[in-house]
Amino acid sequence: MPVIDLANPTRFLTVVNRVLPWLIAATVILFAVGLFRAMNAPDDYQQGATVKIMFLHVPAAWLGMFGWGLMSVAALGTLVWRHPLADVAGKAAAPLGAAFTFICLVTGSLWGRPTWGTYWVWDARLTSMLVLLLLYFGVLALYWTAEEPGRGARAAAILSLVGAVNLPIIKFSVDWWNTLHQPASIFRMDGSTIDPAILTPLLIMALAFTLLFVTLHLAVMRNEILRRRVRSMRLIQAQELHA
């Protein structure tokens, strides 16, 4: 099947129904392996066992940003091509991105107390991540409060594109400003500074979380397509009753 055929919602539903069980199975297996490796990873020489929070915090941070990136790409599809599936993809990514950004902030706070001595500081990385969560709430409010879905979708798409400015700010905040948050330690030009005994379980957990995001995203898209069918059928029913 050509990829372009997936742009048809009915064909998209057929493919999603076929791949979801496999994705769920792969996610469960990866989480089982990742959690086993994470629990058996050695303690950090400075942070002790609190380094285990990293296996949740870092993937959640990546996915919080990934969700917004996905919404920005979908926003182009909504604004330029006005494709309904692009709007569905953007709307489905918003609650997931918000949830992972929330997890990132809470786990970071719980990690910060024993390592930094405080739950929260208004430094550039933490504040820009909080701004991302507030932006997610803004997009969700636009989707949920719009009386006409199309108008809500366009407003949310514009906010998604404008809000994408925050992504490089989050990424480079630790380089541009003097922050309490540590600088990049995984993806660096001179290689990761993390020991393989900790890096390997981190990457497995990151892959597991990413698969979880993809699985949930496809499932939420499926629900949204069904919801739109319900809406259009109710409109038809109302028109027939008034005819």
Binding site: G48, T50, T107, L216
Partner: protein, 55 residues
């Protein structure tokens, strides 16, 4: 496996993550069955989408 003196923070981080992920999964599953049920009810009442109509 010992979680050391800061075990409470580690357990809390995993518990919050599990709770949020469980909420997401629960919402997705319940929403799916709700939409399927409503669609089924509408189809039983003879309501069809325009694309499903013949002629």
């Amino acid at each position: 496996m010992s979680l050391g003196p800061h075990a409470d923070f580690i357990v809390a981080a995993y518990a919050v993550t599990l709770f949020v992920v469980a909420l997401l999964v629960g919402w997705v599953v319940l929403d799916y069955f709700a939409q399927r049920r409503i669609l089924g009810d509408l189809e039983e009442r003879g309501v069809t989408r325009r694309s499903q109509r013949k002629g």
